[in-house]
Structure formats: structure tokens, C-alpha cells
């Protein structure tokens, strides 16, 4: 009978789950401290997205190992895959919006290559993704936005 050995299989699984849970919790706390303390919204984004993916993965692995249920394992796999796809997309959109509206950089930032490329006319990089759509156009306005096209290359500022 297997249960008469000194270290059973369930005990090993629980120890591994405890270690993974501790690692995930440390990542979550580091992410929160980074968001609270870093100077710049871009560096805050770095702390948030990286620590979130790793921390959530560690905690979900711990839950899988401890509970060991098919429902938990399948839902954890779906959640991890979704997090690894969605978190970079959300961070990318937020970073683009931040650069579009001109969020302040840290005073010791070394380079801002996107701003240089936007000023370069040969690169043809524009803010067209965040342009002005049809429903924002004023009626009777002869500008290109009134024709239903996007307002390419002209960032929309609030009045």
C-alpha cells in the first residue's frame, strides 16, 4: 500500500503548490509596488503587465496542483492562455494612447524613437488608429472627416 511510505504523493504536490503560490504572490506584490512607486506611466505598464502574467500563472498552477480537478485544470489553461494573449494587447493599446495624448515621460528617459519617427515624413507613421470617425464630425464641416474617412495624420485634441 502506497500510503505507508513516509512522503506521500499528495504531500509532494501540496509542497510544490505552496512554493508556486508563494512565487506568484511575491510577483503580485512586486507588481503592485511597481505600479505605486515607478515614476512614469510607461514603466508602470512594464511592472503591471509582466508581474501580472507571471503571478497569475503561478497562482493558477498552485490551484491546479492542490485541487487536481479536471474543471480547475481546464479553466486554468483557458485563463492562462487568455491572460497571455490579452495582457500585451491591453498594454500596447494603453501605451499607444499614452503616446498619442502626450503623457509626460520620466525626466531621465533616454530615447523616444516613436516621437522622432512621427516627425519623419518618410516613415509615414500617423495616429490614424485614434483618428476622428464619422460620428465625431461636425455637420457642414468641409474637412476630410465629414466625408466618412478617418482623419489620418492629424491628432485630435480636445477643444
Amino acid at each position: 500500500m502506497n500510503s505507508l511510505t513516509t512522503l506521500s504523493f499528495d504531500a509532494v504536490l501540496d509542497f510544490v503548490a505552496a512554493g508556486l503560490l508563494l512565487v506568484g504572490l511575491c510577483f503580485m506584490l512586486f507588481g503592485a509596488v511597481g505600479v505605486a512607486r515607478l515614476p512614469d506611466c510607461y514603466s508602470k505598464m512594464h511592472a503591471s503587465s509582466k508581474c501580472t502574467t507571471l503571478g497569475l500563472t503561478g497562482m493558477l498552477l498552485a490551484a491546479c496542483l492542490h485541487l487536481g480537478d479536471t474543471i480547475v485544470v481546464s479553466k486554468s489553461i483557458v485563463t492562462v492562455v487568455f491572460t497571455f494573449v490579452a495582457m500585451p494587447i491591453g498594454s500596447h493599446l494603453l501605451a499607444k494612447a499614452a503616446h498619442h495624448v502626450g503623457a509626460p515621460l520620466w525626466s531621465r528617459t533616454v530615447a523616444d524613437e516613436l516621437a522622432e519617427d512621427k516627425l519623419d515624413p518618410t516613415k509615414a507613421i500617423s495616429d490614424s488608429e485614434f483618428g476622428c470617425w464619422e460620428e465625431d464630425a461636425i455637420p457642414g464641416d468641409p474637412s476630410p472627416t465629414a466625408t466618412g474617412q478617418m482623419n489620418v495624420g492629424k491628432p485630435v485634441r480636445a477643444a
Binding site: 500510503s3 505507508l4 513516509t6 506521500s8 504523493f9 499528495d10 504531500a11 501540496d14 509542497f15 503548490a17 505552496a18 503560490l21 508563494l22 504572490l25 511575491c26 503580485m28 507588481g31 503592485a32 509596488v33 505600479v35 505605486a36 506611466c41 508602470k44 505598464m45 503591471s48 501580472t52 503571478g55 497569475l56 497562482m59 498552485a62 490551484a63 492542490h66 485541487l67 480537478d69 474543471i71 480547475v72 479553466k75 483557458v78 485563463t79 487568455f82 491572460t83 490579452a86 495582457m87 494587447i89 491591453g90 493599446l93 494603453l94 499607444k96 494612447a97 499614452a98 498619442h100 495624448v101 503623457a103 509626460p104 485614434f130 465625431d136 491628432p155 485630435v156 485634441r157 480636445a158
Partner: protein, 125 residues
């Protein structure tokens, strides 16, 4: 494992045989230790997660720009997910586990919506 051992001991006791108490105690003690360690770490984790939530709420309230508030709100949703996972481990129940995927989807959708809103608004503050 503990339930299986308990059933075996009860069967042995009911059949009148001698119960191997020492061996059973050795087998169960490692598993109980592991369970105690896991429960201690998840209790400490509740403190960690609450501390992280306080930091996120502080950043949401204080954040100089809207981008900082959006990032902190996203991280707050992830902390709620982590809290649900800790409750699942602590209470040994599966009824809360549906909330994990739903809250992460809601956090992603709110992040995207906030990014579009900020970009269309045109100012960072």
C-alpha cells in the same frame, strides 16, 4: 489520501485486526504538514493581496494622469482574480472558480475601453 487511510483503518478495526497506528501516523503526518504549509502561505497571501489592493487604490485615487489610473484599475482586477484563487485554495471549493475567467475578461475589456476613451479625449489628465 487521508480519507483512504481512514477507511482502511476503520475496516481493520471493524474486522477485529490490529491497527498499525505508528505506520499510519507516519504516512498521514507528512500530508498534514504539507496541507498546513499551504494553508499558512495562502493566509499570508491574503495579506499580500490586500496590501497590493491598497496600493492600487491609492494609485487610482492619486495618479497624475488618466493612464496611471487605467493601469492601476487593470491591476486591481487582477488582484481580485488572485483573491478568488486564494479563496478557492483555502475553502477547497469549486464554485468560485468561474469568476476567475470572467473577471479577467472584464478587466481586459475595461482596459481597452479606457484606452480608446483616453485617446479620443485627447488629453492625458
Amino acid at each position: 489520501m487521508i480519507d483512504l487511510l481512514q477507511n482502511t483503518m476503520l475496516t481493520l478495526a471493524a474486522s477485529g485486526a490490529e491497527v498499525p497506528v505508528e505506520a499510519a501516523h507516519t504516512a498521514v503526518s507528512s500530508e498534514l504538514t504539507a496541507r498546513r504549509v499551504l494553508s499558512f502561505i495562502s493566509n499570508v497571501g491574503i495579506v499580500f493581496i490586500c496590501l497590493g489592493m491598497v496600493l492600487c487604490v491609492w494609485r487610482v485615487l492619486r495618479g497624475p494622469t488618466l493612464i496611471d489610473r487605467a493601469i492601476a484599475g487593470d491591476l486591481l482586477a487582477i488582484h481580485v482574480v488572485a483573491f478568488v484563487i486564494l479563496a478557492t485554495i483555502n475553502f477547497q471549493t469549486l464554485v468560485l472558480f468561474d469568476a476567475v475567467l470572467i473577471i479577467s475578461i472584464l478587466g481586459f475589456v475595461s482596459t481597452v475601453a479606457t484606452a480608446q476613451y483616453i485617446a479620443r479625449r485627447g488629453t492625458a489628465t
